[in-house]
């Protein structure tokens, strides 16, 4: 009886090991392709491979990629995240060397389909293109900033803005080479107790 169960387990794990060995490379290739495509979406044209690195800001590690053209760094693709309505919203934020956001893209999110999930659509995400954090405030309009929130999804919009703000803070640390004390970099969760629906009239 035990022997039988043992045999079933052995055969199953052998099968799994075989499939794992076969699919390992395609999985890695798919992951890599995903990263590269995300990077090239958020930074200007570059040459060669992006240089990956990590920086610690306020006790948290942020992976980022530096891209160069003609030997000069032209942009940084920074991964940052913030708590949304349902799990974390993780973004790749591209910032050019002159501290202007080039573009943003969502790496992963589990927001409500039809509401918060709209943060992946250009209608919302495109407002961050060419965004200069020195001129415009990265907060939703309801909180006194300049970000147009998604209707009925203020929490997601806040998370998105916060993640972008965090990326700007990370960018500043990369530039100065040290970690200044920036509130946004602590990855603080926007304080919201209500439901998304309560913000129906927000616009």
């Amino acid at each position: 009886m035990t022997l039988c169960l043992f045999a079933v387990c052995i055969v199953s794990s052998a099968l799994l090991a075989a499939v794992y060995a076969v699919t390992k490379e395609p999985i890695e290739a798919a992951e890599h392709a995903k990263t590269i495509s995300a990077i090239s979406q958020v930074v200007p044209e570059f040459e060669g491979d992006p240089v990956s690195d990590t920086i610690e800001v306020a006790g948290k590690k942020y992976p980022y990629y530096q891209v160069s053209k003609d030997g000069k760094p032209v942009g940084y693709a920074i991964t940052s995240s913030a708590s949304g309505y349902s799990g974390r919203v993780t973004l790749m934020v591209g910032i050019t060397a002159d501290r202007v956001i080039y573009n943003t893209t969502v790496l992963s999110q589990a927001e409500t389909p039809g509401l918060g999930a709209k943060c992946t659509e250009p209608e919302f995400a495109d407002q961050f293109k060419k965004w200069n954090p020195a001129e415009k405030v990265l907060k939703v309009k309801k909180d006194g900033g300049d970000v147009d929130a998604i209707t009925a999804s203020t929490i997601t919009s806040r998370a998105y803005s916060l993640a972008v703000e965090t990326a700007v803070a990370v960018f500043d640390s990369i530039m100065s080479g040290n970690a200044p004390d920036i509130e946004a970099a602590s990855g603080a969760t926007p304080e919201c107790s209500g439901e998304e629906a309560e913000n129906q009239e927000t616009k």
Partner: protein, 196 residues
Amino acid sequence: MGKFQLITKGLIKENPTFVLLLGMCPTLATTTSAINGMSMGLATLFVLVLSNMAISATAPYIPDKVRIPAYIVIIAAFVTILQFIMQAFTPDIYKTLGLFIPLIVVNCIVLGRAEAFANKNSVVDSACDGIGIGIGFTFALTLLGLVREILGAGSAFGFKFISGDGILVFVLAPGAFMALAYLIVLFKKVTAKKGE
């Protein structure tokens, strides 16, 4: 029962979603759009056919006392294989369904078919049963996903036909229950007429 009947009974007479009411967790959770529902259905179909065949082939050698753990190990192995394959070759679908793929292991349809059919029938019959039930499940999930997508987002299979939003509640959890309930009523009505 012929092979063809084995396949068709899963579609209507023993439809896992509308008649047997099995596997409600993935049914309600993944059907936010027609594509998602269909992918989940096909993933379950894949696991169901393979696990039915494997269990039917090994059933005579597995003592009764340890059959459930043995089935779970076999099903889990196939689910993990499916997960690797999806991760490697269909990363986009994996991204949306990723969370629910491991849950196929505890989908009662898969274990239910193993226990009710595969362990006392031949490998070929079990495969047919798996295909039938799998297609029935895929059909049900696609239909439910389509209804929810049309009402909730105003699109079908990703093609939008109205501007703006639909009735958002249908994309959310309560809408899943409502849409499913009405589809079951409709299904019962249609099949009852046929039976008489």
